[in-house]
Amino acid sequence: MKSSLALRTWAILWKDLLIELRTKQSFSAMVFFAALVLFLFGFAVGPDTATLSRLGGGLLWIAIAFTGMLSLGRTFQSEEVAGGLDGLRMYPGEIRAIYLGKLLANFSMLVVLEVVLVPVAAVLLQLEPWGRFPLFVGITLLGTFGFSVIGTFYASLTQHLRARELMLPLLLFPALVPVFLGAVNGTTLALAGDPLDRIGGWIRLLISFDIIFFVVCVWIYPIVLEE
């Protein structure tokens, strides 16, 4: 009479992605916003291609982070509209499936965004990821996963808080610092070359962060939803 954790996680992931596919509203907004950020940075930094190229990794991740923060706020909106989380909580089975499903949904949407954004950034900022492409992809995925792990967690926590639009970025930022540093530096090294082979350290940092926070957030999640 009870679904497995994997099935419930899949169900929530499927539902969220299907809703997003149907409405398309937030994904197109995300793409436009991210492109806007990249353009603005391009204008702010100036047309010198050497500078742009050097800063490219950082600028790309700023665009991803800001866009990600916007889309996180909506993670639980579809539940509010459907009558609150009670509906999901009423089903038997591990309640962490809600967190896992939403986490994977956020992750997937961000990855799709990146697939669109990276070529745009490559053009605007003169980036060349082709040289060490697997490394570049790996770092991007690790960073995106870390972002999704804490982002989904804090999105759930702040869902019922007043001034949610303020609190989510405020709470998220301190936890985001290691991911951001890891992703930016790792990306820059992957793009520009890594004579001293420093990228290993960043990769280890990202992996540790992802594992530690994944475990902590998954473990502590039921307490967030208690009443």
């Binding site: 967690f153 926590l157 007043r162 609190m167 301190p174 936890a175 610092v177 540093l181 530690i212």
Partner: protein
Amino acid sequence: MFLVPADALQGDVQRLMYVHVPAAWLAMLSFFVVFVMSVLYLIQRDPKWDLVAVSAAEVGIVFTALTLVLGSLWGKPTWGVWWTWDPRLTTTAIMLMIYVGYLLVRSFADDPEKRARWSAIIGIVGFVDVPIVYLSVLWWRTLHQPPSSPRSMAGEFVYVLLLNLAAFTLLYVYLMLRRYRLAIAERHVEELRLTRDDGRIT
């Protein structure tokens, strides 16, 4: 701070260290207290742990701000810059943000149980975050060859530092006790104010 003769190399500014270091130490201690209290609260659900936690957060945020301001004031004449992205200083600034987040969440939650529970979660996740932040900033800085902050001190200076540390720790404990008593009183007021309308509460 006023007993010690001016440091040979850095002059009077060095005296700031006698406050900066204890303040930093107590700020971190307070953060640890918030963490422990958060865990205790989530396990036992006893409101008193939550009250200790908020006391530690408020006292801690004061010491953290003090640490940052003094660090900045010390940095300007010493290194010529107000801010250096030094790993310890940067991590302290981020710790301040976590404290602020903790207190803001409390101010935005009306239900005392939710307030205690959510801030406990932030206290725990925040505490897990700080070492990772420190390591990541440290790694970042080692790639860019930073100036290192001087840590060694001559004998008599250490003695004064420890004296200051003891004095500040006593101050900390005193402030914590006062804040805790205030927190208990606040809770009573809250309880009375919100149940006064309903005469049937026994």
